[in-house]
């Protein structure tokens, strides 16, 4: 891709519309809107999204958001932190995790005051339910910690935050695709965006930028992620020399609807649902004797694959059953109305009467743009920062999820760290001046867009995208090995070469989705590269990263974060960052 960019030598950068702001927020899901809510009214703020904010994928989160409120039984933020550290397979940074779990109760009450309609208990307090990996008394038994609004918690968070943003009269730029961040001497001074309806380029010149662009599940063939989740925010950082952290850790959610990959919440197992193999065995009893079906997602996904490998998939095929029939129609309608609706709509199955076919689906990126607990983007192993640049939510890696995220902690992450990023970016913007834009601002993205437009004979966007999704699913998903990944790496670099010739037939500027698809594909190829090479490098199994050729965790050599730097025209290079250990001792991870 770099070759493509360099080959196109021109200084003819099209004129751009210019805007000036104190803070720019990119992405308007839960993280971006939490940041917005934390910015004082005196600052000039703009929010850019390639969608309409209320279409963001936070809205697809179902089961809950955890906080040790103790509304039903004793709970403690430190138990929550312990579970999160253990769930992360000890790769999560403990200072950040403790911060998140301590901030959690207030974050919930804050959402509640913003109008979030939580499901309730008889006494009027917020309802809580069990979720995978969340326990009481240091792993003793499952605990009810996930606050929820039926099974549409993410939808309620997204809409509540958007409603409050409307109340504040926030300045939204909807359907603006950000294609480049502008940096100068280790500070960020804005972004370049394309307005989808006109193709016009806009420069947003600002004192600080908060990236909240979500994940990249669409790099894989089977995913619960929206079509829009193409790793844009991560890729535009990566292209500017900012590293991506821990990209080898991708979460596969155990219960995607077979064969579509649509998410069936872990809350279904929290309410008592169980997984069954072709013999009708509750197989999780064998893999996680203490918490069984409520084991963390990496373990459940691997267990499902082990059952399938052993020929115990349903009809000897590649899926198992999620059985909710014993829960009764009333509970399903009250607590799990949406997911039972998905089973009805997409598979014509009535979950009250028959089990739901499920298999692991690509769900969440633990890795991303490295940040500290205030959302500041870190660019080297010593914690050096890119001034004025912030990231939060799935696109960021704080890291609170380490090698495996616990269910409900993503919503908590984006609320807590979105807010912190918003607060810190505000303080930074209040005390700094707009720095001058560099003379080549916008040059890279313009070269790219013009090159794609001028290519005449080459593959179409979807042809490359489909191949990429297939090889990433085949060689870089739940189980990985060197041989397969080597093959994947050579196929992926062929695809990158093909991409330099990618040809689009829509040459207009008017709602040109094909051009945007080409840009998104360039992002997906970048983040796939970082994920794959990180996975090849890490010669151990930890959390969601499971190597058949290195089945054990190796703390001696690998209890460290990877930082992946793009090396133009070559394989990426890696540096390593220490894990922030401390309170909780690193131990074997058994459930």
């Amino acid at each position: 891709m770099e070759a493509l960019r360099l080959r196109f030598k021109t200084n003819q950068v099209r004129a751009m519309n210019k805007h000036q702001y104190d803070v720019i927020v990119i992405g308007a899901g839960g993280a971006g809107l939490s940041a917005v809510a934390a910015i004082p009214k005196g600052l000039k703020v703009a929010v850019l999204s390639k969608l309409f904010p209320f279409r963001s994928h936070t809205g697809a989160a179902q089961g809950g958001i955890s906080a040790a409120l103790g509304n039903l039984e004793e709970d403690n933020p430190l138990w929550h932190a312990y579970d999160t550290v253990k769930g992360s397979d000890y790769l999560g940074d403990q200072d950040a995790i403790i911060q998140m779990c301590n901030d959690a109760p207030d974050a919930i009450f804050d959402l509640e005051r913003k109008g979030l309609p939580f499901s309730r208990l008889k006494n009027g307090k917020i309802s809580q339910r069990p979720f995978g990996g969340h326990t009481k008394n240091w792993g003793e038994a499952p605990v009810r910690r996930a606050c929820h609004s039926a099974d549409r918690t993410g939808h309620m968070i997204l809409h509540t935050l958007y409603q409050q943003a409307l109340r504040r009269d926030t300045n939204f730029f909807d359907e603006f695709q950000v294609v480049e961040i502008i940096t100068k001497d280790n500070s960020c001074c804005g972004v370049v965006a394309v307005k989808l309806s006109t193709g016009e380029r806009h420069v947003f010149h600002s004192k600080s930028v908060i990236l909240a662009t979500g994940g990249y599940g669409r790099c894989f063939k089977v995913t619960s992620n929206a079509l829009s989740l193409t790793g844009d925010g991560m890729a535009i950082c990566y292209q500017k020399g900012i590293p991506l952290q821990d990209m080898e850790f991708v979460q596969f959610h155990p219960t995607g609807l077979h064969p579509l990959g649509i998410l069936i919440t872990e809350g279904a197992r929290g309410e008592g649902g169980i997984l069954l193999n072709s013999r009708g065995e509750r197989f999780m009893e064998r893999y996680a004797p203490s918490i069984k079906d409520l084991a963390p997602r990496d373990i459940v996904s691997r267990s499902i694959y082990e059952e399938i490998k052993a020929g115990r998939g349903i009809d000897a095929k590649d899926f198992v059953h999620l059985d909710l029939t014993h829960l009764g129609r009333k509970l399903l309608d009250e607590k799990l109305p949406d997911v039972t609706g998905f089973a009805r709509t997409y598979l014509n199955i009535e979950p009250a009467d028959e089990p739901i076919p499920v298999k692991p689906t690509t769900h969440y990126a633990m890795g991303g743009i490295p940040t500290d607990v205030d959302g500041r983007v870190i660019i080297d192993p010593d914690g050096g920062v890119m001034h004025g640049l912030y990231a939060s939510g799935e696109c960021a890696c704080v890291s609170v999820h380490g090698a495996n995220r616990l269910g409900t902690n993503s919503l908590l992450d984006l609320v807590v760290f979105g807010k912190r990023a918003g607060q810190h970016a505000s303080i930074y913007s209040e005390s700094s001046k707009l720095s001058e834009l560099p003379s080549d601002a916008g040059y890279d993205s313009e070269s790219f867009l013009q090159q794609v437009r001028s290519n005449t004979r080459g593959p179409k966007v979807y042809e490359i995208r489909e191949k990429m999704q297939e090889i990433m699913m085949d060689y870089c998903s739940v189980f990985r090995n060197q041989e397969g990944m080597k093959k994947c790496a050579s196929l992926l670099s062929e695809l990158r070469e093909d991409f330099e010739k990618v040809t689009i037939s829509d040459k207009s500027n008017f709602y040109n989705y094909e051009m945007m698809a080409a840009f998104e594909l360039s992002c997906m190829l970048d983040v796939s590269e970082a994920t794959l090479h990180g996975a090849m490098l890490r010669k151990e199994s930890r959390g969601a990263h499971s190597r058949e050729d290195y089945p054990d965790r190796n703390d001696q050599d690998w209890l460290k974060h990877t930082l992946c730097y793009q090396e133009k025209g070559n394989d990426p290079i890696f540096k390593f960052k220490d894990v922030n250990l401390g309170k909780f001792e690193v131990k074997a991870r058994v459930y």
């Binding site: 994928h57 697809a60 309609p117 499901s119 009027g124 039926a150 409050q164 929206a226 998905f342 179409k460």
Partner: protein, 252 residues
Amino acid sequence: MLRVFRIQRFNPEREPRQWVDEYTLEVSEDDKILDILLKIRDEVDTTLGFRASCAHGVCGSDGMMIDGLNRLACQTFVGDIPGRKPINIAPLKGVPVEKDLIVEMDPLLDKVKSVNPWVVAKEHEPGERELLMSQEDFEKIEDMTKCIWCSCCTTSCPSLWSDSDYLGPQALVMAARFILDTRNEDAEKVIEKVGGLDGVFRCHTIGNCTDACPRDIDVTGAIAAVKKVLLQGIDNEDKFSNIVWEKSDEKE
């Protein structure tokens, strides 16, 4: 099987008026209409304009008129339109079309924004961390909180087609939700917004909205609740307790 898809197109840069393109594709009954549209845009005509994101009915991007009814393309299957007749796909009605199946969102959003669709939190009860709410009160608003702002309801409403200033069902569902939310200090401000000439009494209980809602919200019932509040007034002693929450007839 082969099916014909007749898609209404519009591109003011090419042609001042809408036209229809026909695509004949090999499809199965289980294919979603969204899959078909994506396939056409990928492989046949990359200029086809439509919005989509989550692809499973929670983001609300792909509301459109399919075989004469407003629905989400990701929740509608080829098999839902039985027989061999061509499947007509057109943009939502009653709002200006920008390109192909893409409509202007601003007129729709402006309506929703105009009703103050947000909670202004009341004071806590002393000693409590959260704003207490009974499960019963939660259930009163739960149905409306499912709304994903797809606008299938508003753009199916004949009252809106004849008067584009009418607030329309989507904004009224939001109004109902924020009037009935017991935690909202500013419920009365919402009430003030919906009583005017273009407000709730433009609703003639036609019911298209309820049929169109992909989230199975009882839209007509929510609008009826708003009417009731306006007609019966607000008793400050026991606010809204006089509202009888009745579901209108269940959809098929």
